[in-house]
C-alpha cells in the first residue's frame, strides 16, 4: 500500500476513533481496554483495506470492528476466570459497573452521542490537572498519536506518555465516573471542557513555539462542533463562533514567506467568508438567546471585525462596549489590555497608554508589544523600540519574534 493510502486510512481512523473509544469505554469500563480494541481495529483496517480497498463507510467499519474486538475480549476474560470481577471498572449513569459478555452486544448498540459527551466530561474532569485534561482530550477524543501531542506541547514523548498513563490511572483508581453531569453540576463542568478546547485552539492558532499549528486548530473546531451538536448551550455556540471567526482570518495572517500580517494590514478579501458567515450566524443566535458568557462576547467582538470590509470601517466604539461587557464577566488584566487597544482607536493612544501602563502584565509579551505600538503612535520612538525588544525576548513563537524584532529596529 502506498503512503497516500496509509495516510488516508490514518486520517479516517482519527475521525472515527473518538466515537469508537467513547462507546467502548462505557462497555468495557476501562479506557486502556477501549484504546486497545480501537488500535486493533486500526491494524486490521490497514491489512483488510490493502487487500479489499477502502470500504464505502470506513468510519462505520472501524467502529464495528472495534466493537467485535471488544466483545471477544470481554468473552475471553469472563470465561477465563472470575479474577477480574474485583477489578476497578468505571461507573456508569445507573451507578452500576458494566455487564459481562452476555449483555455487551446490547449495550454496544445504545446511542453513541451520549458516549461522546461522557468521554468529553471525563477527559475534562476538574479533578485532573489542566495539562492532563488537554493531553487526554487530544489522545482519546481527537485520536492524535502521543508523539504528535508531545511535539505540539514541546515535551519529550516519554513525558507525554507518562502524563497520559498517570491521568488514566487516576480516572480508574479514584473512580472518576463515566457520565454526563447532572443539570446543576453542568455549568462548571462545561466551563472546564470549553477551557480545554479553547486552549487547544489557541495553541493551534498561534503556538507557544510554532508560528501556527493548523492541525490543532482544525481538531479544536471539529471537537467543538461535535460538542455543539450534542449540547447546544449558548457558551458552546459562543466558543464555536469565536473559533470559526478567528480561523476565518487564517489565509491573510501570514505572507508567503511566513511573516505575520497584522489585523490592520490583512487583505480582507482573503478571509474565509464561509467560516465567517457560520460564525456570525451563531453569534446572532446567541444574542437572541440572551444568556451572555465570555466566549459569546469574544465571538461578538470577532464578528464586529469580520463585518468591517476595511480596517478603517471597524466599529471601535461597539468593540469598546463589548470589552466592557467582557470585563464585567471576566475581570482580568488581559481583557483590560485588549480593551485598551480598542480605546486607542476611539480616544487616541495617550488615553490607551494610561490604561496599559497601570496593568500588572510585565511578563506578557503582548503587553510590551501594545505599549510599543502606542508609544510609537505618540512619537516616542526610543521608548517604543525598547518595548518591542522586550516583547521579542518574552515570546518563543518565531513569527511573532521576527515581527517584534523588526519593529524594535525601526
Amino acid at each position: 500500500m502506498g503512503a497516500d493510502a496509509r495516510s488516508s486510512i490514518a486520517a479516517t481512523f482519527r475521525e472515527s476513533s473518538g466515537k469508537a473509544v467513547a462507546t467502548l469505554v462505557r462497555v468495557l469500563g476501562s479506557i486502556d481496554a477501549a484504546e486497545e480494541a480501537v488500535q486493533d481495529a486500526f491494524v486490521r483496517a490497514l491489512e483488510t483495506w490493502e487487500r479489499d480497498g477502502i470500504p464505502a463507510s470506513p468510519a462505520a467499519w472501524i467502529v464495528t470492528t472495534a466493537k467485535n474486538r471488544a466483545i471477544d475480549v470481554v468473552r475471553r476474560e469472563s470465561t477465563r476466570d472470575q479474577r477480574h470481577q474485583g477489578r476497578a471498572r468505571m461507573v456508569g449513569d445507573d451507578g452500576t459497573t458494566p455487564d459481562p459478555a452476555s449483555a455487551v452486544a446490547e449495550r454496544l448498540d445504545e446511542p453513541v452521542e451520549d458516549d461522546q459527551l461522557r468521554l468529553i466530561f471525563t477527559c475534562c474532569h476538574p479533578a485532573l490537572g489542566m495539562e492532563a485534561r488537554v493531553a487526554l482530550t487530544l489522545r482519546l477524543i481527537a485520536g492524535l498519536e502521543t508523539r504528535d501531542i508531545a511535539r505540539a506541547f514541546l515535551v519529550p514523548e516519554t513525558t507525554m506518555a507518562q502524563r497520559l498513563t498517570r491521568a488514566k490511572r487516576k480516572i480508574a483508581a479514584a473512580n472518576i465516573p463515566y457520565r454526563v453531569p447532572e443539570r446543576e453540576d453542568l455549568p462548571p463542568r462545561l466551563a472546564s471542557a470549553l477551557a480545554v478546547l479553547y486552549l487547544v485552539f489557541n495553541e493551534g492558532y498561534a503556538g507557544t513555539t510554532d508560528a501556527t499549528r493548523p492541525d490543532l486548530a482544525a481538531e479544536a473546531i471539529r471537537l467543538t462542533r461535535a460538542l455543539h451538536a450534542l449540547l447546544p448551550e449558548p457558551e458552546v455556540a459562543g466558543l464555536l463562533a469565536l473559533m470559526l471567526l478567528t480561523e476565518s482570518r487564517r489565509p491573510a495572517r501570514f505572507t508567503p514567506d511566513g511573516s505575520i500580517v497584522l489585523l490592520a494590514d490583512q487583505d480582507r478579501t482573503q478571509w474565509d467568508a464561509g467560516l465567517a458567515d457560520e460564525g456570525r450566524r451563531l453569534v446572532l443566535e446567541c444574542v437572541r438567546r440572551g444568556q451572555p458568557g465570555q466566549y459569546q462576547v469574544q465571538a461578538a467582538i470577532a464578528a464586529v471585525h469580520a463585518d468591517a470590509v476595511r480596517f478603517e470601517d471597524t466599529d471601535w466604539p461597539q468593540i469598546v462596549t463589548l470589552y466592557d461587557q467582557l470585563f464585567a464577566l471576566t475581570p482580568t488584566a488581559v481583557v483590560e489590555l485588549n480593551r485598551a487597544v480598542a480605546v486607542a482607536e476611539v480616544r487616541g493612544p495617550a488615553a490607551a497608554l494610561g490604561i496599559v501602563d497601570g496593568l500588572p502584565l510585565e511578563r506578557y509579551h503582548l503587553w510590551h508589544a501594545t505599549r510599543g505600538e502606542l508609544l510609537s503612535r505618540l512619537g516616542r520612538s526610543a521608548d517604543a523600540r525598547v518595548a518591542f525588544a522586550t516583547a521579542a525576548e518574552l515570546t518563543d513563537n518565531p513569527a511573532e519574534r521576527d515581527l517584534l524584532l523588526g519593529r524594535a529596529a525601526t
Binding site: 474485583g86 477489578r87 476497578a88 461507573v91 451507578g95 474532569h125 479533578a127 483508581a173 479514584a174 473512580n175 472518576i176 465516573p177 453531569p181 453540576d185
Partner: protein, 116 residues
C-alpha cells in the same frame, strides 16, 4: 463502590487555631457531619489524631528493629484527622469532601484506597 480516605492536614509549625477561633462550633459541625455520613450508610471509620510529636516510627532493616521518637520525616504539614468513607464515585466523594471541609474548617484531601 470505592473507599476514600478524607484526610485533614494541619500546619503544625503554627498554632492550630487563633484565639478567636470557635472550636466548639467546629466540633459540633464535625459531629453533625459524622452523623450524616453514618445515616447515609457511607461511613467506614473516622478519627482525630494526637499531635505528630506523640508519634513513634518503627523500621525493620536486615532483621534489625530501629525505633525512632517522632514522625517518619520532617514536614510542617501533617495529618490531623481523617475519615474513611465508602462512595459510588469521585463526584460523590468530592461533594461529601466539600461538606467535610466546611465542617472541620480545613482543606480535605480525597484519596482512593487500592481495590482489593
Amino acid at each position: 463502590m470505592t473507599e476514600y480516605l478524607f484526610s485533614v492536614h494541619h500546619d503544625y509549625s503554627k498554632p492550630l487555631f487563633d484565639p478567636s477561633f470557635d472550636v466548639d462550633a467546629m466540633m459540633r459541625d464535625t459531629a453533625a457531619f459524622n452523623e450524616r455520613a453514618q445515616k447515609a450508610g457511607i461511613y467506614v471509620f473516622a478519627g482525630g489524631l494526637e499531635a505528630p510529636d506523640t508519634a513513634t516510627t518503627v523500621t525493620v532493616r536486615e532483621g534489625e528493629t530501629l525505633t525512632t521518637d517522632g514522625p517518619f520525616a520532617e514536614a510542617r504539614e501533617r495529618i490531623g484527622g481523617f475519615w474513611v468513607l465508602k462512595l459510588p464515585d469521585l463526584d460523590t466523594a468530592l461533594d461529601w469532601a466539600a461538606e467535610a471541609s466546611a465542617a472541620c474548617r480545613g482543606p480535605v484531601e480525597v484519596r482512593p484506597f487500592q481495590g482489593v
